[in-house]
Structure formats: structure tokens, C-alpha cells
């Protein structure tokens, strides 16, 4: 087999894996948009906040330590204990549920039936607040996140492909874990949305707030639930990306990777987020591999948007989005 084709196959597989990581971020956007029509600008910051909280709990860090020390003249930074990863994830989930309740109670319940642009602007405010709040709560230093996920080259794939192609493929163990987690997450979310009472209520709210209210569905409960689930998805994304680069404030920028995925997959489809992520991941990696050297490299960021725009021209609602026809 030609060498370039073998290399392209490796790039293709890595593109799929990268796409899964993009899809993990996009899923959070989809969940909230699907249930409330809100494009949540704060989703990237939620991933950052969740990861910061997780590391803080694991390391036994005292929240708001700098503030407390500055006000009281104390010197406390750590509780002196370490919390196991699984337990810390559960505690972090509780924090994200609390955050969802606060966000809904203080912001979005007062904005029911407002224009989408008003809701969008509220999430911009939320994003900046949450970023500053996370800074004050946990500090701005880069934190190593280790919940026991494997990282580095998968030796089995390396050896197997070497025996077949005389060239061992590089696949990161972390990406494999992310793929499995994403698959489980999507299955769980689809089952939840289709087959549970709360899931059906969520879809009803997504279709029409007023109609859902008239049949006794609690809008507040549904929104808190959806923001909690989005918080959980943000936590998963934060763990995967934070394990790669450490938990730091640029983690919030991973939202940029989700936008072309949403444009391509549609804002309302959970499978769309996954398929969109895979197409963007593979597309940008193969384009960089094939044309990057001719174009000076670094094509991935812009090519992802070009790819999304091409799909938009033919399917404005995205691959799996709902086509909305408004009759006058």
C-alpha cells in the first residue's frame, strides 16, 4: 500500500478521535438549545468551571482561599486531604446541579418568553461572571488533572498496524477513552430524551413553553434539569480536555471548536452533534494532511468553518436539525 495512503488512514482515525472530543463540547450546547432555545455562550466556561471544581475538590483546595486570607489575614490554602477521583466527580456534579439551580432561579426564570437574543446576551454575562467567579474560587494557576485516565500511544494498535502496514499508527489512549465515554453518554441521553417522563417533558418544553406549562409541566424543574445535564456534559468535556492540557483558563476556548460542529450537525440533535463532530474532525485533519503543506499549514481552524458553511448552504438547519417552517 502507498505510504501516503497509510499515513492518511492514520490521520483519518485521529480525525475521528478529535471529532469525538469536539462533539463532547457541542453536546452541552445542543442539550440547552433543545430544551430552552438558548444558545449557551457559557458552555465552554462551564467546562472550565467544572474542571476547576473537580481538581479543587480532589486536591482538597480551600475555595476562595485568597479572598479569605486577604480579608481575615489567615494563611489557609488546603484542607490537607485528597479526595478520590470518582468521589470528587460526584461532588462536582452536585456543585454543577447547584449552579444550574442558581442560574435558573436568578437569571432564566425571569426571562421566560423573552427574545432569543436577550437569552443569548444573558449567557454572555453568565460566561464572564463564571470565569471571574472560578478565578476567585479556585485561583488562576494551571492545575494537573489526573483521574486515572490512560494517556499516550496505544501499543496494541501500534503493533497491529505495524504488522499489517509496516507502519505503526498513533492513537492516543485518552482519545479511545473519550470515544467510549462519548458513545455511552449519547446512548444515555437519547434513551433519557426518548423513553423517560422527564425526557419527554424536556422535549415538550423545547417545542412550546406555553403549551408545556398548560399541561402541568414545571418549566423551572425542566430547565434546572437540563442545565444540570449540560453541566455534567461540561464536566466530562472538562475532564477530557483538562487531562490533555492541564486545567487552565484557556479551557473555556474549547467552545470555539464546538461551533462548526453545531453548524454542521444542527443545534437540536444529539446524534447530530456526534456526526458533526466526526465530520469536522476528519475533514479538518485530512485537509491539513493533504493541503496544509501547500498552504503554509494551520488550516484546521478555518477549514472547519468552511466545511460547516458548505453544509449550511445545502441544509441550513444542519444535517440533523429540525426544519422550521413558519407560515404567515
Amino acid at each position: 500500500m502507498p505510504e501516503q495512503l497509510v499515513f492518511a488512514m492514520e490521520v483519518f482515525l485521529n480525525g475521528l478521535m478529535a471529532g469525538v472530543l469536539y462533539a463532547l463540547v457541542a453536546l452541552g450546547f445542543v442539550l440547552i438549545y433543545k430544551a430552552s432555545g438558548i444558545f449557551n455562550y457559557a458552555q465552554g466556561v462551564m467546562a472550565l468551571f467544572a474542571a476547576l471544581t473537580l481538581v479543587g475538590i480532589m486536591e482538597g483546595q480551600v475555595p476562595f482561599a485568597h479572598l479569605i486570607n486577604a480579608m481575615l489575614g489567615t494563611e489557609i490554602h488546603h484542607f490537607g486531604w485528597h479526595v478520590p477521583g470518582v468521589l470528587a466527580i460526584l461532588f462536582t456534579m452536585a456543585v454543577m446541579v447547584g449552579l444550574a439551580w442558581i442560574v435558573n432561579t436568578l437569571i432564566f426564570r425571569h426571562l421566560v418568553n423573552q427574545e432569543p437574543i436577550i437569552l443569548f446576551m444573558a449567557t454572555i454575562g453568565l460566561a464572564y461572571f463564571l470565569e471571574g467567579f472560578g478565578d476567585i474560587m479556585w485561583g488562576a494557576d494551571i492545575k494537573k488533572l489526573d483521574v486515572g485516565l490512560p494517556q499516550g500511544i496505544n501499543l496494541w494498535i501500534d503493533e497491529t498496524t505495524f504488522n499489517i502496514f509496516d507502519y505503526g499508527f498513533f492513537i492516543d489512549n485518552l482519545d479511545i477513552v473519550a470515544t467510549v465515554v462519548a458513545a455511552l453518554l449519547v446512548c444515555a441521553l437519547v434513551i433519557f430524551a426518548q423513553y423517560t417522563k422527564q425526557g419527554r417533558a424536556m422535549r415538550a418544553v423545547a417545542d412550546d413553553h406555553q403549551a408545556a406549562l398548560s399541561v402541568g409541566i414545571s418549566l423551572n424543574f425542566i430547565w434546572v434539569m437540563v442545565w444540570s445535564v449540560a453541566g455534567f456534559v461540561a464536566l466530562v468535556a472538562g475532564i477530557m480536555w483538562g487531562t490533555k492540557s492541564g486545567v487552565q483558563f484557556s479551557l473555556s476556548l474549547i467552545a470555539l471548536k464546538a461551533l462548526p460542529v453545531l453548524m454542521l450537525g444542527g443545534f437540536t440533535s444529539i446524534p447530530g452533534a456526534i456526526v458533526g463532530g466526526l465530520i469536522i474532525g476528519v475533514g479538518e485533519k485530512l485537509f491539513e494532511f493533504g493541503f496544509g503543506p501547500m498552504l503554509g499549514g494551520a488550516t484546521e481552524n478555518w477549514f472547519a468553518y468552511v466545511l460547516a458553511l458548505i453544509f449550511l448552504v445545502f441544509r441550513p438547519q444542519g444535517l440533523f436539525g429540525e426544519k422550521i417552517i413558519e407560515r404567515v
Binding site: 488533572l145 492516543d172 490533555k244 487552565q248 499549514g297
Partner: protein, 426 residues
């Protein structure tokens, strides 16, 4: 009655207002945003050194130092706003701490007569003081960095790297592209093959670049990164099992923050530096006593001795030495920004001077002049020791290849002078 009240109010304001200081230093810091983890230690070091001089020595030459901090968030627009908002306070010098902000401030600061010190960043050809009268980039610049890295590889290979492959992984911005020209020249001179691998901002996803490195198997990888790009690159290098001792970062890719995420596997990673590391210097005892223990530290006091804290402190030390020089030249203690410029242009850093300050062998010796605002291009290589949890110097300070760099400085600064109608001269 009314007059009495007004007089009382004014008197109260004067009594409770900040003490007026004569030497104003603006710290354009970034303690928030994606790059805060790097901005905080630098700013802490920068401010703590001036605080030390105030608390221990009563300032410089009898004049207290007034530190004005302005948050830029590492954002160019905010950086320019900071400059505009604070220049009227009598700022003696600006350390913009961003290549983007530097490029915006060069014409403004030149027009306002306020010097910029862009230490190890900014526009490299600003080394030519005959063109850039108000810009100083001592003790080293990016082109020095590129040459120092290649010199180190040469030394590791017995002086012959012809036929070797060197890859540059760089932030796809003006900053990241700075070393390319020099590396191309060095590639011609030494016969190595150079491949360029740009990474788009912010650099969280670099799979394509590292797969390419894995396929092409370069002998050495150089990195011009910043922020999350550094951590991801080092992690990806670990993932593909690239030999860490053959991976060299510029000084902005060589702090504890950059290797933390990769953990022990980053052991052996190298980075350039133009100042020394650690806290085993007499001045740190004074910082602890007069600043940290006295509760006057700019931050939490937990960054003392880190690479970026040391860099901030080194920048402050060079600024304070330039102030002393300006005071000596002009015979006044309350100097202006124009006089500060003269002090910077006459600055000479010797080992004796650094030892007297309590920082022996902390930086290279250099002398600034009108023709040379960039120092002598000396730097050293540091290496991450994961077991000890610190970067350690593994070479002495050595000089970059001035035969290659000086013509490039002349060429680029001449082009700038021509574009901007500047008549070079000293």
C-alpha cells in the same frame, strides 16, 4: 461656612489620599483570562522587587517608587488603553509584556517620549537604537533565541548538523513567526533541513502537527509557544515518545506551568533562558523579609523563585538599575521618562553590579548603547528536572551568532525606518 467646609474636605482628601511618589512604574499585568497563570508570577516578581526597594532602601536615590498596575488580560486593545490611561501619571517606562501590545505602542511611546522595555519579546529589530530610539529589548531577542537553540544543537552534535532535520512548532502569530527568518539563514549556514509547523491560537488541538513530526522524525524540535499551546505540545511530544532532550522551547515556553500537565514524563525538556533560575540568591531573603513576611507582596507570595517570577523580578531590577544610571547622568533623583531613556541607553550590567544587588550570576553581562538597544545576545539552556520539580541551568551563558543576526537587524530596521520616514542616527 461654605469655604470652611470645602477647605476641610480638601484637607481630608489630601490627608487620606495616596502618598505622592516621584518614580512611577506602570505594571501592565494580566492576572485574568487564558494567560493569567503566566501573567501572575511575572507581575508578582516585577512589583515585589520595587516594593523591596521602597521598604528596604527607601526607594531609588531617595525617591519612592509608585507602582501603578493596569490589567490588560493579554489583550492588545486593553494594553493600549492601559498605556493611554496611565501615561499621564509620569510613567518612566513600560514593559508591555506582549508582542501585540508592543507593536501598537512603538509609534505612540516614541511620539510621547516614553521608553519601552520589551525584554525577550516584541520587535526584534528594535535592537537598532539608531532607528528605535525609545525601544529597548535587552538582554536578548527572538533571533538570539533561534541562534542559541541551534548553537546548542550544534554543540550536542560535535559542531556538525548538516543533513539533520529541525522542526519548528510555532504559534501562528507575529510572535511565533519571528524566528523563521533567522532559522532559514542558519539552515543555509549549517546545512540542516528546517520544517515549519504552525499551530493556530490557542493551540489546544495539535494532533496534526505531532503526527507529522512522528512521520518525518526530525532530530530536534524547537518551539515558539505560549499559554496552553506549550502544555499541549509537551504532552503530545510525550505521547509520541519524542526524546525530551531534543525538544527545546524559547524562554516563553519554559516555565513550570508548561511542564506541569505532562508530569514526570516531561523530564529532560529543555528551554532557553536569559536569566538564572531558583531562589538561591541573597536578594530573595530580603524579598521574604521586607515584602512577603511584611504582607506587602503583590500576590499571595507563593510564586517566589518560579521561572516567571524571576523574569519579572529581573525586569524590575534592570529598570531600577536604569533609573540609577539616569539619576547619575542627570544629577537629579526625580527623573523624567526622557531621562529614563538616557539611563536605559547607558545601562551596563556587570557581574560586580549583580553581586552587589544580591543576584550573582543571575543574568548575562551586557552594555547598552545608542546603536545597540538589545544587549549582546547571551542566553543559556535550562532543563526540566521532574524529580526536583524545577528547571536547572545546564549551560553557561553563551552568545548567539551575531554574524547572522546583525545583518538581519540592520535590514529589518532599515526597512522600518524607510516605511516610517525615520532618519537613523545616534
Amino acid at each position: 461656612m461654605k469655604k470652611t467646609l470645602i477647605t476641610a474636605a480638601v484637607a481630608a482628601m489630601v490627608a487620606t489620599g495616596p502618598a505622592l511618589a516621584d518614580l512611577t512604574i506602570v505594571d501592565t499585568s494580566y492576572r485574568t483570562g487564558p494567560y493569567a497563570a503566566n501573567g501572575i508570577p511575572f507581575s508578582d516578581g516585577y512589583q515585589d522587587y520595587f516594593t523591596l526597594l521602597n521598604e528596604r532602601d527607601g526607594g531609588i536615590g531617595g525617591e519612592k517608587i509608585n507602582i501603578v498596575e493596569c490589567e490588560t488580560g493579554y489583550n492588545t486593545e486593553k494594553g493600549v488603553e492601559c498605556y493611554e490611561a496611565t501615561k499621564g501619571e509620569g510613567a518612566l517606562v513600560y514593559q508591555p509584556l506582549s508582542t501585540g501590545i508592543t507593536y501598537q505602542l512603538i509609534p505612540k511611546a516614541t511620539a510621547d517620549g516614553i521608553p519601552l522595555h520589551t525584554m525577550g519579546y516584541g520587535r526584534t529589530s528594535a535592537k537598532n537604537g539608531a532607528v528605535f530610539k525609545y525601544v529597548f529589548n535587552y538582554p536578548a531577542n527572538y533571533w538570539d533565541g533561534a541562534s542559541l537553540a541551534v548553537s546548542h544543537i550544534l554543540e550536542q552534535n560535535g559542531g556538525d548538523i548538516s543533513g539533520k532535520k529541525i522542526a519548528l512548532v510555532y504559534h501562528n502569530s507575529a510572535y511565533g513567526k519571528e524566528p523563521i527568518r533567522t532559522l532559514e539563514e542558519l539552515s543555509k549556514k549549517h546545512g540542516f533541513e528546517l520544517s515549519l509547523l504552525p499551530v493556530d491560537h490557542p493551540g489546544q488541538e495539535q494532533k496534526s502537527q505531532w503526527l507529522q513530526i512522528r512521520r518525518e522524525k526530525p532530530d530536534n524540535v524547537l518551539m515558539w509557544g505560549w499559554g496552553v499551546m506549550n502544555q499541549v505540545a509537551i504532552q503530545e511530544a510525550v505521547n509520541i515518545r519524542f526524546p525530551m532532550e531534543n525538544f527545546i522551547g524559547i524562554w516563553w515556553s519554559g516555565s513550570e506551568n508548561d511542564v506541569k500537565a505532562a508530569g514526570d514524563k516531561a523530564n529532560g525538556y529543555k528551554a532557553l533562558t536569559f536569566h538564572n533560575l531558583g531562589s538561591d540568591y541573597p536578594v530573595y531573603a530580603d524579598i521574604q523579609q521586607y515584602v512577603v513576611d511584611a504582607g506587602k507582596a503583590a500576590g499571595a507570595g507563593d510564586q517566589v523563585g518560579t521561572v516567571l517570577y524571576n523574569r519579572g523580578m529581573y525586569a524590575a531590577m534592570l529598570a531600577s538599575e536604569a533609573i540609577k544610571t539616569a539619576q547619575e547622568i542627570h544629577g537629579v533623583s526625580d527623573i523624567t521618562s526622557q531621562q529614563m531613556r538616557d539611563g536605559m541607553e547607558a545601562l551596563e550590567m556587570t557581574e560586580a553590579k549583580m553581586e552587589a544587588i544580591g543576584l550573582p550570576n543571575f543574568g548575562p553581562e551586557f552594555k547598552v548603547s545608542c546603536e545597540n538597544h538589545g544587549g549582546n545576545g547571551f542566553g543559556a539552556v535550562s532543563q526540566w528536572d521532574a524529580a526536583a520539580g524545577e528547571f536547572k541551568l545546564i549551560t553557561e551563558y553563551y552568545q548567539s551568532d551575531q554574524d547572522v543576526i546583525q545583518p538581519l537587524v540592520e535590514e529589518d530596521s532599515a526597512a522600518f525606518a524607510s516605511e516610517n520616514g525615520i532618519e537613523p542616527g545616534c
